[in-house]
């Protein structure tokens, strides 16, 4: 047990884990474009569901190894952070002492976010025609009322609006979707991907449920705070020394 904890606490472990990730990601970056058709649905489905359906382990092995190693990295990060908090040294410069640990905790939250997204996420793209009602999930439906497109001076689509009616089995809400302006109804998020303002008005709408996004965001915020804290700590230390 002691040996295992020492293994997780070692900087060498972190270094070799990082190196292994680099190798695996490199393999993945060659495998993805080499098997485009095979990987075509990976971004449309939560990862774990996609992996269980895809079956072909000879192509996806690097993802499995990476998931296993992420678990080891998470444990290593957790132990190193706990040790840093328990250690009595370094507290004379608390910002420099705490910032890397805040970053570590941020990374852990990002991993948790990815884990939740990969296991419990939900994604669906719906091509809605004007006046058509489509079922989202259960008794929740979406109806496309109208599409408005704004062109720029050169005639390109500068902005658009898809006017929709969301019905969650009793409550009816009118809403409009624009690029970068998603709408959230309970656990579901609606995103406008594209619209067509031709003879037949259509809107491509993405419906998502991402239980990991907020955790990942929290992790990102902590990573940023830790990073900025570390830089400012270094800056003030350098200024004092100067």
């Amino acid at each position: 047990m002691k040996l295992f904890v020492q293994f997780l606490l070692s900087l060498k472990t972190a270094f070799w884990l990082f190196t292994a990730f680099i190798v695996l990601l490199f393999v993945g970056s060659l495998s993805l474009p080499g098997n485009l058709a095979f990987f075509s649905g990976i971004d449309e489905t939560p990862l774990f569901r996609w992996l269980s359906r895809s079956g072909t382990i000879s192509i996806t092995w690097w993802i499995y190894v990476m998931i296993a190693m992420l678990a080891v990295l998470a444990a290593s990060t957790l132990f190193c952070t706990a040790q840093a908090f328990l250690s009595r040294t370094g507290w004379q410069a608390p910002v420099l002492k705490l910032s890397p640990q805040v970053m570590h905790i941020g990374v852990l939250f990002i991993m948790l976010g990815h884990l939740l997204t990969a296991s419990m996420g939900f994604k669906m793209d719906m091509l809605l025609k004007q006046g058509e009602r489509a079922v989202v999930a259960g008794d929740r439906t979406l109806l496309l009322e109208d599409v408005v497109v704004h062109k720029d001076r050169q005639g390109y689509d500068a902005d658009w609006e898809a006017k929709l009616i969301w019905d969650d089995g009793g409550n009816t809400l009118t809403t409009s979707l624009r690029p970068l302006h998603p709408r959230y109804f309970g656990q579901f998020g609606l995103y406008s991907r594209s619209v067509s303002n031709g003879p037949e008005k259509t809107a491509l709408v993405r419906v998502c449920r991402d239980p990991g996004a907020l955790w990942a965001l929290l992790g990102g915020v902590l990573l940023s705070i830790g990073g900025v804290g570390f830089l400012s700590g270094k800056f003030f230390t350098a200024t004092k020394t100067a």
Binding site: F15, L25, L32, D43, Y156, L180, R193, V221
Partner: protein, 255 residues
Amino acid sequence: MFCSLPFGEETRSVITIVLLLIPATFYIMGLMEGRWGQGMFLAGLVSHAASMIQRGLEIGTVPLTEKHDNISFLAFSLALLYWYFSRKKSLQGLRDLALPLIAATLLTAFFFEPINTISPFLRTPWFYLHIFFYFISYAFFGISACIGLQYLFSGKNEHESLQYRGAVHGWIFFSLSLVVGSVWFFLAYGTYWLWTSRELWATIMWFYYGAYLHARYVKGLSGRPAAIMGLLGFPVALFAYFGVGTVLPSPPTQF
């Protein structure tokens, strides 16, 4: 505004090229000794800033939405960081490495035609911040690599320490870029991660510099081996930006 002036497309392209050639020439002339060299470098910075302002006026927004402008911004960031680091007496030799790198980076922008249309999915401060942090991080990685090269020749601990400091700044700005980019992508497309070569190489870069920052404290890796690792990080970063999509295929994002 520039875009309202009576210039045709071709004239505008010629002006854009000239406005890049002028600072690139000044940066190279910055290799001259003494005050003349410093003056030329500053003239390069001022004319470079002018060329970016011209592009901004031409497209009506911050010029950070496509490769031509991004590379120009990278060269500008490199120049600013070089200016900051070169004030240290021990880094006088940095000029011979950094100025050609800045000029070469700027001239690379010629290979990418300026694009004046902007997708509605890019019109958000989150995207601009993502790109801003991304190229600031690249500039830190570039300057850090130059200082690392200097360390390999000089063997001075101060150079190694400055190389590390540059890489730490780069890595933190790169992390910020990934966080802000994820927020932008989630608001635009409802997801914060994609399985494409581009994303995988961004992650490779993050782990690579993460490994370097840890390696510096690992017995047997600190010193020269870690410095070489830090130095090689810049080619990795360059491949992540220029190589993916050209040498290594990565399908364009269809989201």
